[in-house]
Symmetry: none
Subunit: 410 residues, 2 copies
């Protein structure tokens, strides 16, 4: 059985950094193992979603598994819920939620409830499982002040506004239907009721009493946003005849995996931040390869440094990845596994957000075409033998390498 590993350095692509002599963090970093992959394999520039399109971490990973997000993107809410392990059914409407703090006039004091770190499970239990107008409320805490909410029942809609005003000092917004349908009106009404029930129950909760005693802000309200309706997506095993898996510390990336019918385990120590346990993730990849054709592993930290505008941190972290990469490369070579190293999108330190700049891509494998590229990096990848491709194009290429692609025509 031929297999492939897709190694994603999240947000690693960048723009010219003046203090690096106009090199990017990848180009400036010392990366002997990445360079070895580039030199002995094939390279290319990848516009994950398409040229001139700024990818999200979700849309990019959908492309990387051959699903066009223009057709299949369910919205952020369902991806978060799936990523947190909730089994969504078609018709469920899911939301991202913040635990927040309001004053007696429902005015928002803190959108993150004093960056609450623990005790949210206790609060979640106060509303998880209740029913409003025959609709079931599923409510699970995520990391820190975050949670996910799912409404399950007949005749719901994701065409409703956020209750989260995205700023502080103003009241919680009333959820309104975004279209004149019975479904949108019903969903808005249920959400508004749920928010009041949560406020009532959270205000009396033991944990908030304790927080107040400690001088911490109480988590006494929920703010909802990112409504999306779950719909049926043909599983990857049916569509492409492969078994796929994703190893990631990021909920929406795992959510993409589960949306497409893949395994996306929570790996201990995989945090989605610079303290993540890269070795534990590599172990998980190697384990998953026993019964999966394609395993993607996402290391989030380069993206975090990009958002923070920290090129030196980004460069150092890429060097750290490179050190861990040696073990994975040795494994790949020894086991005739295809190894593709790339990024889901650029997150330039100058922009402090995702950008449409293409990302470098290098791939190695038993018979992969070798090109003239000698080093891993944006400017080198431009000479690569894959030319300029998209995430969908890369996925088709990988399917072909592992003998899972079908000929179009005769």
């Amino acid at each position: 059985m031929k297999r492939a590993i897709i190694f994603i350095m999240d947000g690693a692509g960048d723009r010219a950094i003046k203090e690096f002599g106009f090199l990017t963090p990848i180009e400036a970093a010392s990366t002997p193992t990445l360079d070895r992959i580039a030199k002995n394999g094939i390279n290319g520039l990848m516009y994950t979603v398409g040229p001139g399109i700024i990818p999200g971490s979700d849309t990019s990973h959908m492309n990387l598994f051959g699903y066009d997000p223009k057709e299949y993107y369910p919205g952020r809410g369902p991806l978060e819920a799936l990523g947190e392990g909730i089994d969504l059914k078609p018709g469920d409407v899911a939301f991202r939620v913040n635990f927040a703090t309001v004053d007696d006039n429902m005015r928002i004091i803190d959108r993150r409830a004093g960056r609450i770190k623990s005790g949210t499970e206790e609060l979640a239990k106060l509303i998880d499982g209740i029913e409003i107008d025959g609709v079931e409320v599923i409510f699970k805490p995520s990391v820190q002040h975050r949670a996910v909410l799912v409404l399950r029942g007949e005749d719901l809609s994701d065409r409703v506004s956020d209750s989260d005003p995205h700023i502080e000092g103003v009241p919680v917004k009333k959820v309104i239907p975004l279209e004149e349908t019975p479904e949108a009106k019903k969903t808005a009404k249920i959400l508004n009721e749920l928010i009041m029930i949560a406020h009532e129950r959270f205000s009396k909760a033991e944990i908030n009493k304790k927080r107040k005693e400690k001088g911490l802000l109480p988590a006494n309200i929920i703010l909802t946003r990112g409504a999306g309706m779950m719909r049926y997506v043909e599983p990857i095993e049916k569509r492409y005849r492969i078994r796929g898996a994703i190893v990631s510390g990021v909920a929406i990336v795992r959510g993409v995996g589960r949306l497409l019918g893949m395994e996306a385990p929570k790996v201990k120590g995989a945090t989605g931040d610079p303290n993540t346990n890269i070795d534990a993730k590599i172990d998980a990849v190697i384990e998953l390869l026993k019964d999966h054709d394609v395993v993607l592993v996402n290391i989030k930290a380069p993206d975090v440094f990009g958002h923070d505008g920290n090129p030196i941190g980004k460069k150092k972290f890429i060097e750290k990845i490179d050190k861990h990469m040696r073990r994975l490369l040795d494994y790949a070579i020894e086991n005739n596994v295809y190894l593709i190293v790339t990024s889901d999108h650029s997150t330039p330190c100058s922009k402090r957000d995702h950008s449409s700049d293409p990302v470098p891509l290098a791939a190695i494998g038993p018979d992969v075409r070798v090109d003239s590229v000698e080093k891993f990096g944006e400017r080198f990848a431009a000479f690569g033998g894959l030319g300029t491709i998209t995430g969908m194009g890369l996925f088709g290429t990988i399917l072909d390498w592992i003998d899972k692609a079908e000929k179009f025509g005769a």
Copy 2:
């Protein structure tokens, strides 16, 4: 009148060959004339159908003439029939056929009737032209054990199964309708009757008596597969205002030409195998250029060596093509004709089948932009001035070079 030649080295693109020091057969070959075209012209990497898509010889050639196969692909049967010179009408249903050998229980002994080489014309006459339920049977032998079958009449369908089980030792399969329509049922019934008529008449045929006397397997049945319905395709002269022609020893490539309303003569000595007469093909190209704007010539042999997993044979044949190319290049330069050398797809010796790997492309002409590429080959083409393009993109570029393209906008 500006004109262009598209020279297709079928399946010439490849992957890293260990015994060539990880070069591809093209890169390893000594190709002074191809290198001269690359050095004095413009180069690029081409994903004929699209990145990550494995092209067939048929879908790739459709793209190379600006017809999207997703829209116009009629299936293998009609392309084979057209390539064998049958004038198909919209509504005709065409099949690929094998002459085969069955025992008295209709069990298949040999799917190729002992690789029968001659006498199939005599057998074909026994069923060509007969009528079943008002439907006309058109049956023509092709090379060796192959033939094409066309059903012509009202209310037919191509949604019918193969009678060819694709393995030996089992009975001929009954053709069944693949959808619950009167058309599919009617077509299946006619096919099953035809197969029995063919069996009856072939069994008594003089040639089979002779074959038995010589100890050869009789060709006493037909196996059908690859049903496709001919539909109207706007001819290239109408759609793109050019006259086009294809020179190829391969039936389905000629079939693509005829489907698009082009001339696709059978050239004497053009066999589609390594013994093909390249000079005769070049003569045909030069002759066709007298009254055609774009002439494509396809040399099949590199693909054959790819399917056989024979990198040395492939490299040597590419060197042979290069020697013949000198005359065509001299002609092109002398006559201000654009000459484009490329491949329809890669057929890596390691995969022994078509792959999605892009193919190198080099083009020369009176005013073609010159880039920095010095040699013809996969890794060099990646630096080319055309960047990464598709077959459709190349066709548009060629139309522009010969002043047949229209501006989009003002």
